[in-house]
């Protein structure tokens, strides 16, 4: 009863031999935990490796410039494919979506943290979160069957007013990049709002009170205390939203009219993004070379979202470093 060596007197005290099994349990447990962590890291590496390995043969056989061509000819024997138009449509649709979503998201986040009555802020926030819960295919069919008819008059108006500018050149396409962008904006709105809300909420009370004590109005308090404090958070939230928009598949696939061979710089054109090209081609994944072309497009999309998410992460990290 008096020794503390769990080994020599195994039944001393309440279950004295726990030390030994404890060590085994600890080793197993920390092994599982570390193993899972390593698995996650490896997984990303595997994604890059597998996509690269299966894209390379097709890229070697490609007779067109992968980065410069707008062709997409992947039938057997004569591979000619490039991503120039995919890159443009992917990027411009996401940027227009951001231009719409970010200001509204900031407004919503300010409303939820600075303006809404305290008691209602939480239920209101859950409402916005519900937007994120709606599956993207539902956004797609809603956009296609319902929103499209409302967006067309807006497009006509912009075309007639600003049609001289290439981005707003009039075209006769029903599923336009502009329509897809609006739906994308709605889809990324809750993501940007959620993170912005979190950072606005963390504004130190002292900063806000300091502004108010100087006689600032509510808006001046927001402008001098809340927005500067939350800026890095809003930037990284926007990047995360951008990453989501770049990779969104089914909604964009349903909404965008496929107009191969008729490229235009206009936002009122149709087209395909990386994701929708892959989705549209998914039924013709028959030979490895053909599939490889789509996988090459997927790899570019992966790198694009990786870069955007990494930037978002770095911005957040920097902010943490400042606030600690």
């Amino acid at each position: 009863m008096t020794s503390i060596t769990g080994h020599s007197e195994a039944d001393a005290g309440p279950s004295g031999d726990m030390a030994a099994t404890g060590r085994v349990g600890d080793r197993v447990f920390s092994g599982l935990a570390t193993g899972s962590g390593v698995f996650v890291v490896t997984l990303i590496g595997l994604v890059a490796a597998f996509l690269l390995a299966q894209a390379v043969p097709s890229l070697m056989d490609n007779k067109a410039g992968f980065l410069t061509s707008r062709e997409w000819q992947v039938s057997a024997g004569d591979l000619r494919f490039g991503i120039a138009d995919l890159l443009w449509v992917t990027v411009i649709s996401s940027i227009i979506a951001m231009a719409i979503a970010v200001p509204i998201a900031i407004g919503v986040a300010l409303f939820l943290t600075q303006y809404a009555p305290r008691r209602l802020a939480r239920p209101f926030a859950s409402l916005i979160d519900l937007l994120a819960a709606v599956p993207s295919i539902v956004y797609g069919i809603w956009g296609y069957f319902v929103l499209r008819d409302f967006v067309q008059p807006v497009q006509r108006f912009v075309e007639s007013a600003l049609g001289w500018f290439p981005l707003f050149a009039p075209l006769t396409v029903s599923g336009t990049i502009f329509l897809a962008s609006i739906v994308l904006a709605i889809m990324i709105l809750p993501i940007i709002t959620a993170i912005s809300r979190e950072v606005f909420d963390q504004t130190p009370a002292a900063h806000k009170e300091a502004a108010l004590a100087l006689g600032a109005t509510r808006w001046e308090m927001v402008r001098t205390a809340v927005l500067p404090f939350g800026k890095p958070g809003v930037i990284s939230a926007s990047m995360l939203g951008l990453g989501r928009a770049l990779g969104e598949t089914i909604a964009v696939t349903l909404l965008l009219s496929v107009t191969r061979g008729a490229f235009s710089w206009s936002a009122f054109a149709g087209g395909e993004t990386f994701a929708s090209r892959i989705a549209n081609g998914s039924s013709e994944f028959d030979t490895p070379l053909k599939t490889g072309a789509y996988i090459a497009a997927g790899l570019v999309l992966f790198l694009l979202t990786f870069a955007v998410n990494a930037v978002a992460r770095i911005v957040i990290e920097r902010r943490k470093a400042f606030s600690e």
């Binding site: 008096t2 503390i4 769990g6 005290g13 726990m18």
Partner: protein, 258 residues
């Protein structure tokens, strides 16, 4: 049950920072030893080395020896987990496990160490709760959450939880600092009772408390911020409080600093 502790030439580090320097002392069985001293003097850190709890914090390590009845707690063949079962600890803030009932809280140490027999657990829970002067207050609601008790009751629950595994030494890190005066009194009475069976070491900021509950008192101090804490003087409580040898002790006790 109660055992003596002999500390020799102990240095405590967190990473490269030396928190406590060159402490040697003997702690007698069946006594209450109080550690007093200003904030940051290393008394809590030192207390944690007596059951290797400092190792829970990243970078914590010691040089020197801590012997429990002659066995060095830091020798290679000793498992820190076994040490903590022998040397129990009560913390500054009451910390009952929130997902567990009163009964389960007290039984936690036994259960997690593999005791499954119902009767053994029930017996140990009753004995420990009685030992912690809590039995009469909670015997009708053992299945209620431990977090529902008052602060003082929670702390006595934590003491019951600590003594349920039948440790030989009980370390208390400012056990009353989060409690009101009446709860504090209850804990102090409890300490007085259980010292018959355990070796008790208590860290306290409250000098009246040290004078009331302890038999022996150790005074820690540090030369300056960033310097390691040191043991300045240790002796019978009556002597430390009436006639300390060191000037620094006298200054601290008479309230001239700290």
């Amino acid at each position: 049950m109660a055992q003596r502790i002999d500390v020799k030439d102990l240095n405590v580090y967190y990473g490269s920072f030396k928190a406590v320097e060159d402490v040697s002392m003997s702690i007698e069985p069946r006594t209450v030893t109080a550690f007093i001293g200003p904030s940051g003097c290393g008394k809590s850190t030192f207390l944690r080395t007596l059951n290797r709890m400092h190792e829970v914090i990243a970078g914590g390590r010691v040089e020197g020896t801590v012997a429990l009845n002659g066995r060095d707690l830091y020798s290679k063949d000793i498992d820190p987990v076994a040490v903590r079962r022998t040397v129990g600890m009560v913390f500054q803030r009451p910390n009952p496990f929130p997902t567990m009932s009163i009964f389960d809280n007290v039984a936690a140490g036994l259960r997690l160490n593999g005791v499954k027999t119902k009767a053994v657990l029930a017996e140990a829970v009753e004995r420990s709760l009685k030992g912690a002067n809590l039995w009469n207050e909670v015997k009708d609601r053992l299945d209620k959450p431990g977090a529902g008790l008052s602060g003082g009751q929670q702390q006595r629950l934590c003491i019951a939880r600590a003594i349920a595994v039948e440790p030989q030494v009980l370390l208390m890190d400012e056990p009353c600092s989060a409690l009101d005066p009446i709860s504090t009194l209850a804990i102090e009475d409890l300490i007085d009772e259980i010292k018959q069976q355990y070796t008790i070491v208590i860290v306290t900021h409250n000098m009246q408390q040290a004078a009331r509950v302890s038999d022996r008192t150790a005074f820690f101090n540090l030369a300056a911020t960033g310097k390691p804490g040191r043991l300045i003087e240790m002796g019978d409580t009556a002597k430390i409080f009436s006639n300390p040898t060191e000037k620094a002790t006298e200054d601290y006790i008479s309230g001239r600093f700290g």
